[in-house]
Symmetry: C2
Subunit: 492 residues, 2 copies
């Protein structure tokens, strides 16, 4: 057995432990009775500890030093193994434990403080989370030869750093400053959309969501659709679990949410089977993942072509006045711009502003230029600058997202990198595949999904984010296609 083969077997084992944990996480969100929570926490901790021990065992370093591979995939796999080993070994065990404790404690305080819009209550715990995150960033920075912030970002999306992101975000902020008022003006000049009249029984919504998800290419043989408080896509590539929640007064949230999660699920289903359970066989990162959910939800399924097909389906499923299901009305209803305070409710044009704000603030927090206690003021200032609004309280401002309070720093850019990449990939797919939009207009996403499988899914982690885009579209990340998409959809 070669050093590479030993490593390959070890990483397959690690991935299998992660699969078990993924299923238990899904169960905790979708199935578990509340009384099971404490035991579940222990189960996940034991699995995480086992996976970490396998990754950092004494014999791994020697095999990593000895192994050489000529084949591009195996060479990339080895590089990713080294990278994973480096990340896992760089942070001292006592810091990992201190972070787990501090993050969990802060998240608990945050839940109550957010409910009461009382930032002062959670500020000390957040300061401690940030203090430890800075230590983590410093340790990773030394090991990976990246800046501290880039070292954190690397944990969510390899192959792109703040220096790549900052100019793209600055350019977008400029675009938005001009485009948003024009879009609002145009929107105000058109008739307001009609809302389909409910109630929409959850079971009927669920059956429809299941049908649309299958029609988009997700096989029932390898997936489930269930309910959870916070929609997500989990599970494993051969057994993907997506969740949503149903509002009986408005079916749009679940329906568009399920199409979004279906995009994530299709990515997992299309990963290269020959490298299953190997680092190079995994999805290329969170921004790449978000590009796959958004290309299905935003690019394909909110397009005029798809709505033209979807409207009659919806009318048949729910009944009521036909006018509300007219494709043009659905477009006006589901493609509205609005300056709001809440990121997760934002439309696709203003969403990046929420991300740009967080990207700027979290960099300042990591380098220590901004103290946790000064976050509310900096937040208000940033929102005024980007969207011209100021949150009425901190619950609708700097306390709205769990991420920082749970120690996740460097994650936010992925959302907007994904949105931009989705537009860039869609433009490339349109160039490559004749009749792409005509197929979408028949509810047939298979030409698009086939193209994505070839150019994104089947590549696994062979390429970093920018190289993946370059191979698929001819260019690294470039906001031009995203801006062109928004211009066509909101300013025409």
């Amino acid at each position: 057995m070669t050093a590479y083969d030993r490593l390959s077997a070890r990483f397959a084992r690690i991935a299998t432990v992660h699969e078990a944990a993924a299923m238990l996480n899904w169960d905790a969100a979708a199935m578990m009775p509340p009384g099971g929570a404490a035991a579940r926490g222990d189960q996940l901790a034991v699995l995480a500890g086992h996976a970490h021990a396998l990754l950092t065992a004494p014999e791994v370093a020697g095999d990593l030093a000895a192994a050489t591979e000529a084949d591009a995939w195996r060479e990339a796999n080895l590089r990713l193994m080294r990278h994973a080993h480096l990340r896992a070994s760089a942070v001292p065990a006592d810091l990992v434990e201190a972070q787990a404790r501090a993050n969990a404690a802060c998240e608990t305080i945050w839940r109550g403080a957010r409910r009461d819009a009382d930032f002062a209550r959670v500020a000390p715990a957040l300061a401690e989370v940030l203090n430890l995150a800075r230590q983590q960033a410093a340790a990773l920075s030394a090991a990976l030869h990246l800046s501290p912030y880039d070292a954190l970002m690397d944990g969510y999306q390899r192959g792109i750093g703040a220096a790549d992101v900052a100019p793209v975000f600055t350019a977008y902020a400029r675009f938005l400053h001009d485009a948003l008022p024009r879009a609002e003006e145009l929107q105000a000049s058109r008739p307001p959309p009609l809302r389909p009249e409910g109630p929409f029984p959850a079971d009927r919504q669920e059956a429809l969501c299941r049908r649309l998800s299958e029609a988009a290419g997700l096989e029932a043989e390898h997936s489930r659709l269930d309910r959870s408080a916070h929609p997500f896509c989990g599970g494993t590539p051969s057994d993907v679990r997506i969740t949503t929640r149903y509002d009986e007064t408005d079916f749009a949230r679940a329906l568009l949410g399920v199409l979004h999660e279906t995009g994530h699920a299709l990515y997992e289903r299309g990963l290269p089977a020959a490298f299953a359970r190997q680092p190079v066989g995994e999805a290329a990162g969170m921004a790449a993942h978000e590009s796959q959910s958004l290309i299905i939800e935003m690019q394909a399924c909110r397009s005029d072509a798809y709505l033209g097909w979807l409207g009659p389906q919806l009318h048949a499923a729910f009944g009521g006045a036909a006018a509300a299901f007219a494709p043009a009305n659905l477009g006006r209803l589901w493609r509205r711009v609005e300056r709001g305070h809440i990121r997760v409710d934002a439309d696709e044009m203003t969403y990046p502003a929420h991300v740009i704000l967080r990207f700027r603030l979290e960099q300042a927090l990591v380098v220590g230029e901004l103290a946790a206690a000064d976050l509310p003021g900096a937040w208000a200032e940033g929102m005024r600058d980007l969207l011209g609004i100021v949150p009425p309280d901190d619950a609708q401002g700097c306390m709205q997202d769990i991420h920082w309070y749970d120690g996740a720093i460097g994650y936010f850019p992925s959302y907007t990198l994904g949105a931009m990449a989705a537009a860039q990939l869609m433009a490339a797919a349109r160039r490559d595949v004749p009749g792409l939009d005509a197929a979408i207009g028949r509810g047939d996403l298979s030409p698009l999904v086939g193209w994505l499988r070839l150019h994104v899914h089947a590549k696994g982690s062979l390429l970093g984010f920018n190289d993946l885009l370059r191979a698929a579209t001819g260019r690294p990340l470039d906001p031009a296609d995203f801006e062109a998409h928004l211009t066509a959809r909101y300013l025409a």
Copy 2:
């Protein structure tokens, strides 16, 4: 840290890995899409391997030799740790692997062969399973100082062996020889029961099952009820998962099945929290577990008292003609004796005959007195002797149960030991708790469950099977109470 504390932490970790596996097994039966099966097998194998490695790690033997504890619970815990370590270390790793492969292969062949009632097709694979089981039994026998068959039985129910079981079963066979024709005669002299007229929608059955299970004491906070092809009780003590399947033409199977599984679940819920995840905090074995399901299903919920309360509940839930829901009719319907070929369909009087047959045959198979190829003939002879019937084919004979074909030998006696223990425990509870049956007649099982919690559940594995019965009822296993119960129910 003392040797005992180190061991206690290690066994807690092992139990936590087993909890994760229990959840994944439940998911595989109740939730998993078919495409997830291969990956799930790998996940369970990795968890089993990790638990085994923790149990047989080099440092364990030293700690087991060094640890001493005076307290009865901790002393028993240590004894059970030694026992588990001995069992895990006794069987060579290559034999464990060979058994896993042979059992899986034989089970697959058995599924097809049973469908076609073609015993010859599976006989060679069964011979190999038995050959390996004999080697396993020999290895365990040497380590545990038990006979080979008792060493296998010990894996399912500690504290009782063939020498305890054989006379009890022989006595029962004598009782049955006389009692069964009398019960049949009496039954024939009474009016045939009316069948409630369906259909009974699965959702309504499920809601009722959930309500009755909760009424029996199973908390929704700590349990789930779902659907699977083969009903079972799984999960963990703080998060018990029971399953059933619904037949829309007959609600009785799901309803009585859920009450049965509720008995198992209540046992898990009542285990001693102070010894959670320790060997002494586990259930006392499969026979003890079956006693808890059968005392709820057979002793309590098929009693006249409970049916008197249940009948009107059922009528309210399902509607239709009231006569079919009359308690006396439900009694005639759900307490019928019948000489049948299929164990899982058997009534409580003839069920032990099915077990006695298997107990006799599997002993002969283990010692090598009976060859796999001769099983059909021995089966027919045994059935003629015990129940006076001969199966029309092997699918309804020696191929009906998965157990042997999956390598589970020594398990069958647990069913009947459980049935007898249930009657013995019920008789003791009636002596100890005034008004027990009156409470059951109000649908209130809490006095019974409270008594069981004290005398069975909270004891965990402190005592072996016979010692547990002695402490709870004053006597070791004794079929007299079971025979008295059957006499009162079927011969009065």
